[in-house]
Symmetry: C2
Subunit: 450 residues, 2 copies
Amino acid sequence: MATRISPLSGFPELLPSQRAVEREVIASLSRTFELHGFANIETRVVEPLDRLAKGGEIDKEIYVLRRLQAEDAGDDTGLGLHFDLTVPFARYVLEHAGHLEFPFRRFQVQPAWRGERPQEGRYRQFTQADVDIVGRDVLPFHHDVEVMGVMVAALAALPLPPVSFQFNNRKLIQGFYRGLGIADVTEAIRVIDKLDKLPAEEVATQLVERVGATPEQAQRCLDLATIRVPDTSFVERVRALGVEDELLDEGLAELAAVVEGCAAGAHGGVSVEANLRIARGLDYYTGTVVEIFMSGYERLKSVGGGGRYDALASDGRTTYPGVGVSFGVSRTLVPLIADGVLSGSRPVPSAVLVALTDEDARPASESVARSLRARGIPCEVAPAPQKFGKQIRFAERRGIPYVWFLPVAGGEGHEVKDIRSGDQVAADPDTWSPPAEDLRPTIVTTEEQQ
Amino acid sequence: MATRISPLSGFPELLPSQRAVEREVIASLSRTFELHGFANIETRVVEPLDRLAKGGEIDKEIYVLRRLQAEDAGDDTGLGLHFDLTVPFARYVLEHAGHLEFPFRRFQVQPAWRGERPQEGRYRQFTQADVDIVGRDVLPFHHDVEVMGVMVAALAALPLPPVSFQFNNRKLIQGFYRGLGIADVTEAIRVIDKLDKLPAEEVATQLVERVGATPEQAQRCLDLATIRVPDTSFVERVRALGVEDELLDEGLAELAAVVEGCAAGAHGGVSVEANLRIARGLDYYTGTVVEIFMSGYERLKSVGGGGRYDALASDGRTTYPGVGVSFGVSRTLVPLIADGVLSGSRPVPSAVLVALTDEDARPASESVARSLRARGIPCEVAPAPQKFGKQIRFAERRGIPYVWFLPVAGGEGHEVKDIRSGDQVAADPDTWSPPAEDLRPTIVTTEEQQ
């Protein structure tokens, strides 16, 4: 018990007032998702390893469970912690399909684990909020617009720095490349993805050398990738590049519908763009793709993302197409809290400290607390009958805004003091309420200190 | 992707309407804890192994993490999943003590993991709700009464079968045994604990043989252990056993205060008893102890428990005494849900399905949905413009109580149908609201089917 305690790198932990921020954010996200008819589920945190490990980059980040006193390798559990919420959700859909109604609309807010090198915005344990719609066999395109619009509404309701949804469409990219006559579309996407790090000429050279594009084709790939507009004017600009392809037409129409639909719901600090460079590396996306960025926090890369996948899950007979988007709760909040951009108004739920005259009077103070609680006012009774000045400082250190004083023998009635202003007024435990904004801890936003 | 899916034993997973029950239960518990001024925290799910493994029985149930592609043993993380919420909370207090105000009142609702053999009420992943108060150096006794009373209030607010809080006090037991002249109090407690399984005479024999008690002492130990009353009358009955000891006096006074304080707040299906057989195996309890049982579910053993520990945590210089109680959310709810005692009123949050006349009219239906959501009414738009009969059945299968019909060309105004009664009335999207009980999924209680 006497060992020195030091934080574990990659496992950030919040103090009570910081946790109040996270709690309010998750409550707000959940409220928006539920208003749109999405049901909450939680999955177990472990999956069989053969479901998690697919031979990709992520495999080496998977945490595997073994029993501490396992006798031999045969005791290995064969289980690993999930590294996202998509793999467990796909398995949940397959396992419980007989008990679900499709299209199935669900949201999920849980931690996931990756044994990667910790850095700002990248943690070994991190909470995500995912919202998805899954169909059986088919899932009409309008659900793409719907689910993206839900996340736009959810983030618009949060006190975040400006957030930008950058949409693209895989059909658009693939149709364009195909219409242009590029054979290896996947490799072309991989090269174009380097535009973040390499100058355009270098990317063009690689398109020629590694994808077998002509210099003219390479230039048009770059032209496409640099289109970035806040409305549907990208359609005209792509058309102007003179490539004809049916899949391209479909992708243009879908992207226009998503941008238009989401822009209509975007308000507050949320903006929507078509950014034709966005591809998202993962192979399973087949239509809409999105990455979410936060202003001033471009160093975090995206704070969320998602898209359409025509085969989220399949059991061999039935295929379940899906569309969804994930928001990185920890990735976003931990840096914002560390920078002081977001903080909690107080570390305790109590709006009132009921003062204590002497230890024998505790039942009287408890009785006041009961009256306040019966009307939904969080409160606590002072732990010790110290001098009132000390009890007020006790409240002050916890950010509790009000202190309640009971009548003393021969004295006046009940009084309540707003310790911020010093105002003290007569009050009845059965009727007094604090202003709504003092009832619960709230999120305080401040400009980032540089 | 085509592998067969089967459930993982010991990792129960809830369907959406069942999860609605768990969600409402956790929301209700959290509400009560916050009304009493307890702050929520979450700890990371992993702890260093040297903090988890103490050489006890539980060690072999600990899940250890290793990286999937760890090259050698040196890559072992040295981390294990926590098996309760007390060990991580104690570590959190030590790690963050400089940033906390004491007494620190917190609640925590998180999963924990134990690799034990799964059975009803015992799972490998299970959610607990813990509420504790921790002091620095000292923690006055009145907090015992307070924290136990909070859990009584929290469970009284839930629609559970009758629940019984059975209290005892370690000082009472130890003082009594000491006053009686029994040397090995710990071993005596261990033997008395077998009263559940062995006949009284056998326990008496073991007290003589293993603890060195005289037959007369053994009888008085049994007399003490069989005292079980719903009020403070145990004080008199213990006194009648004729044992004198200062620690016994202290224990009697404390237990009387806890039983009296909690009985005052017990209502609904919650009852309070002094049961002088309760000891709780764990060594660190030093005063109040409690076990919670649920009527008709005695086979689960306790559904919660806790107590006072004078050294919850210590860093060598400072000691942090605590008192708290834990409620087994999964242990209680999974069996109740499986037995049909508790169920969710519907698997989706939507209170209203907005019908769709044809695909071109989707924006009009979306606009109705927006109006309803703006007033806090969860709803969704029908996924396809099927015949209205089919749309109503779509709502029915999801338990959505209302279907909204928009005016058709040349027709009447908006109408909303309660599909349970068939009543259909004119309604305005800007003013109509469902009755409060239809707004959210609720917990439905039914008598257990035998």
